[in-house]
Amino acid sequence: MSKIEEVKAKVEAGKSKLVPVLVQEALDEGSAPAEILQAMVDSMGVVGDKFSSGEIFVPEMLIAAKAMSKGVEVLKPLMAGDGSASLGTCVIGTVAGDLHDIGKNLVSMMIESAGFDMVDLGVDVPADTFVQAVKDNANVKLVACSGLLTTTMPALKEAVQTIKTAYPDLKVIVGGAPVTPEYATEVGADGYAPDAGSAAVKAKELVTA
């Protein structure tokens, strides 16, 4: 098994102590940082697919993401200023009135693992704050809004519409327990995903289309 293949396998297995060592070994053998990063992104794609299909569960996804982030720490100094490795910035948050953070955090983690730089606004985020974050951060390509309560669906709608009014070409993805694909379309979102694994796939699809 090549060193890069080992990195892929150990990210998928969530070996956060081993991955940075293997990443360093891959670099020492002459692999390019971008190539190693891509291997880890691919690995997280497999993790996301397995989560979406019910083959693995949240803890397995969390430890895989942690392993990848440990590997990325090794690569970061070597890739500073190399924008080509990023899919752009994604602003994410749970909408106003809603304090659910677990699903949003998982989605954030998986979108980051797909190659985005994340700006996490946390929970209970007013619509205007999403817009301000787009303004304040460079290269924002995507906004992800989460809503977990039937009572905060109006806030989700308001967030999407406020963002779209300010930035009509910016892609917006939505999700959360009461959200359906139909509702996403109705409120003017560009995409919907039912879980964290699919959110990463959809995010990439939206910005590379």
Binding site: F57, V58, E60, L62, I102, L149, P194
Partner: protein, 325 residues
């Protein structure tokens, strides 16, 4: 006409119920027991474990806060110095209202039901956040086993006091084990960490006169049903439509019963109507049938989030009883 208690037993034992069990009607919930501070609408509180909860005004529930300033357990390997269980209330005064309520219940008609929340899994993530708790199951399994044992010992100490005073017929125990699409952990991990804990807890209740264990998890958890049976759960309340309840009834009816199959989110929302409630109730009753099934919203207590929904659901169940019995 059977009493509520008799009708429930006929339903879950595969006998001859004379109507659908109507949501929580068989449980007379004793909510006065001193189980610890609970967060109400618009409040922010710190409970006996030091966990801070906030419930935004106008929203549907409280949430534990896990920023650095509020997280109780910051390092699982050091849990012994960071987690301190509150004292179990043992004074007559603290239990008086609950005892009076329990004594006033006609036990031929209803089950005197003690309410217990949060559950063991919930306690682990209330203390340290969901991400930390789930990662710790992999990264520090021994410490998690020890912490879970500590939480179980606390619940057993509370259970001992509660059982001796209320003599409940039924326990209604919360512990959410999944999202609407999947269980939080795999069945294997659940078996390792949580099944032994609940076998102790539910075993204690059953050994001390409790006839019925009703467990609330408004989620997907179909993959955990064998574990629920092993733990001694009689009724899984909160079962969502994502679980394919008719299939579960076919597979496990007689070993466990299912209460729900009407997702709260589709009937209990600002724009609800009696027609929507009836439609969803009718679908649930028709697909699940008369045995091993109790129709009701997945919500974990005997009221709706929006005024009139719970009552409308009761009316819809009455109509379905008239149509199907």
């Amino acid at each position: 006409m059977l009493t509520k208690r008799q009708n429930l037993l006929e339903t879950i034992k595969g006998g001859n119920p004379d109507r659908f069990v109507k949501q929580y009607e068989f449980m007379n919930l004793i909510m006065e027991a001193p189980i610890g501070a609970m967060c109400g609408p618009g409040q922010t509180i710190k409970n006996g474990w030091g966990i801070t909860f906030t419930w935004p005004e106008g929203q549907l529930g409280g949430f534990p806060i896990h920023d650095d300033a509020h997280k109780v357990l910051k390092d699982i390997t050091d849990w012994r110095s960071q987690v301190k269980a509150p004292a179990v209330e043992t004074s007559d005064e603290a239990w008086a209202a609950a005892v009076a309520h329990a004594n006033a219940v006609d036990r031929n008609e209803e089950f005197v039901t003690a309410f217990v929340a949060p559950g063991i899994f919930e306690m682990t993530h209330h203390l340290m956040s969901m991400e930390d708790a789930l990662m710790a199951l992999y990264e520090e399994p021994e410490a998690m086993h020890d912490l879970i044992d500590y939480l179980v010992e606390y619940e057993l100490a509370y259970a001992k006091e509660m059982v001796s005073r209320l003599h409940p017929d039924c326990i209604f125990h919360h512990d959410d084990w999944g999202s609407q699409r999947s269980s939080f952990v795999s069945p294997e991990m659940f078996e390792e960490f949580f099944v032994p804990a609940y076998k102790k807890i539910y075993g204690f209740y059953k050994d001390n006169g409790v006839e019925l264990i009703v467990h609330h998890s408004d989620s997907y958890a179909a993959n955990l049903v064998p574990a629920m049976i092993e733990m001694g759960i009689d009724i899984w309340q909160g079962v969502m439509t994502t679980n394919n309840v008719p299939e579960l009834i076919k597979k496990y009816g007689g070993q466990i019963s299912f209460m729900g199959d009407i997702d709260s989110g589709v009937i209990d929302f600002p724009g609800w109507t009696p027609e929507i409630v009836f439609e969803k109730t009718k679908e649930a009753c028709e697909r699940c049938g008369k045995l091993y099934f109790i129709p009701g919203a997945s919500h974990g207590l005997n009221f709706g989030c929006f005024p009139g929904v719970y009552e409308s659901n009761d009316e819809a169940i009455d109509k379905m009883s008239a149509l199907m019995f």
